[in-house]
């Protein structure tokens, strides 16, 4: 074999893809069949087991902070209906608040995208309030609106309002200039442009905002429930009452239910997003 032959052989070996596709499909994290492989799920399982051990050890050492896992499980199964009822109350408050916040923020975002003066007046304030921990006014809202559902709705709506406003406004303004030029040369009206071009362009931004805002709405509802000492329903109320009576298993069971609720909501948003945004890069990466 001459030197030149060797070189071409090497080059051929180097350029040949070494069974790349099959390796790729197994490693690809989004691929569904990947979960068959232990290498994919085993690390998580081991980690969970380690955390459980650590928890049990903590429960022995610090009984006033951590209840044994078994007791949490017992409380959950024994009073499952109770947890579900209260979870639904909290969920209802969070969802209604989110709906109100969403509607108001969307309308204002459309208005600011159409009226530059309004945008210049509103958006700087929105940016500041977006980084302000608005949950902090929950106690004041309770004083103002009492122990009913109203302060919970208001706080959830308020927390959701600014991220949705900012994201939607950015989305409505994200239409590429050349697209706008095409529709300006046919003299598209404002409403036509909004309906056919701007709002669909804003949808990915809207879903991004929803992902941020869903957990926030639950936090808002829970904090409002906790601040209203006269409330009788909702997981926040359950948690604060149980804490004061030192019923740690109930506290943690409620937190677990809240976590599951958050995951399910996020999952629902993801499913809707896949359907609505099937054309968008983010849904098939």
């Amino acid at each position: 074999m001459t030197v030149a032959d060797e070189r071409t052989a090497e080059a051929a070996a180097g350029t040949e893809p070494p069974a790349e596709p099959s390796r790729y499909s197994l490693r690809h994290p989004k691929s569904r069949i990947a979960w068959i492989r232990p290498a994919v799920w085993a690390p998580l399982l081991v980690m969970l087991a380690l955390l459980a051990l650590l928890w049990q050890w903590g429960a022995d050492e610090l009984p006033y902070l951590l209840p044994p896992l078994g007791k949490i499980g017992t409380s959950l199964t024994a009073e499952f209906g109770y947890y579900v009822d209260n979870a639904l109350v909290t969920l209802g408050e969070a969802a209604a608040g989110l709906g109100m916040g969403f509607a108001a923020a969307f309308v204002l975002a459309v208005l600011t995208s159409e009226l530059p003066l309004l945008r210049r007046a509103v958006m700087p304030i929105a940016v500041v309030l977006n980084v302000t921990p608005l949950v902090a006014i929950a106690p004041a809202l309770v004083v103002a609106f009492g122990f009913g559902p109203l302060p919970k709705l208001v706080i959830a709506a308020l927390i959701c309002f600014f991220p949705i406003l900012i994201n939607t406004a950015a989305g409505l303004r994200s239409v590429p200039r050349q697209v706008l030029q095409v529709y300006r040369t046919i003299d598209a009206g404002r409403v036509e442009l909004l309906w056919y071009v701007r709002i669909p362009h804003a949808l990915p931004f809207l879903f991004a905002a929803l992902r941020i805002v869903l957990p926030l709405s639950i936090i808002g509802a829970v904090v409002a429930e906790m601040s209203a000492s006269g409330s009788t329903r909702g997981l926040g109320t359950v948690i604060s009452v149980a804490s004061s009576m030192n019923q740690l298993p109930v506290v943690y069971a409620s937190i677990l239910v809240l976590a599951v609720m958050g995951v399910l909501l996020l999952l629902a948003v993801t499913l809707v997003e896949r359907r609505v945004l099937h054309w968008h890069d983010s849904t098939h990466d």
Binding site: Q178, V182, T185, I186, D187
Partner: protein, 281 residues
Amino acid sequence: MDGSVKVTGTPALDLRSVRRVYGFGPSATTALDDVHLSVPAGRFVSLIGPSGCGKSTLLRIAAGLEEPDHGTVRVHGVEPAEACAAKMIGLVPQSPALLPWLSVLRNVTLPHKINKGAARRRERIAGNAERAATGAPDMRELLVKAGLGEAMHKLPAQLSGGMRQRAAIVRAFGLRPDVLVMDEPFSALDEFTRESLQDQLLDLWDELETTVLFVTHSVSEAVRLSDTVVVMAPHPGRIVDTVEVDLERPRGDRLFGERRFHEYEDLIRDRLRRAWRSEAA
């Protein structure tokens, strides 16, 4: 269409003493200075010149996307804004500018759903009634003609760059515009795709009879396509030369190998070089 000039009253496009300055004071850029351009209906006119000589600015002004600081612009005798309101102008930008959530077919038919009052306005503009009355062409047919029959129901992201640009061209032609303005529509494509799109563009132009204002950086593209090549120079942006390309149509590969074709290319290159030199001086 054999290059013979049609005799019509009002030019399709008429720019007089057009001036456009960006910015103020010492940092001001004169993008266009004292530009005169009159394009008879049905002509294919290319703008060529070095970067920054105001080609895109001229195009935007002609399409009513921007107002000149000085001078007048008329499209078939009316102001560009009025022409836009009557949907007389079609724009093909440098990028296809398709809406990513709509199929190709929906993308090219969307302009028909927008500004529906335009048809009546168009009829009222003098000498235009006949054209307006012919109505919108069958978009499916047009897509098939452009080689997008298979891709009609696909999303833009599922197409190649050349197919997307073709869709953008079909979208513009679908308006049956009186004036079609195109800003370097093929600059992002490879040479093969570019040449086949040039042919298709000429076919559509031939069939739908419209006036085209076409910006390009490529001398051979300008000669292949145009009746008239307008040479521009920068600082300030202006028209320095106008070359009539007197070659018969349809222009095929045989013509592109001939000397006459290359002589036009050389002529335009020479004018471009002179434009550069005059700037350096």
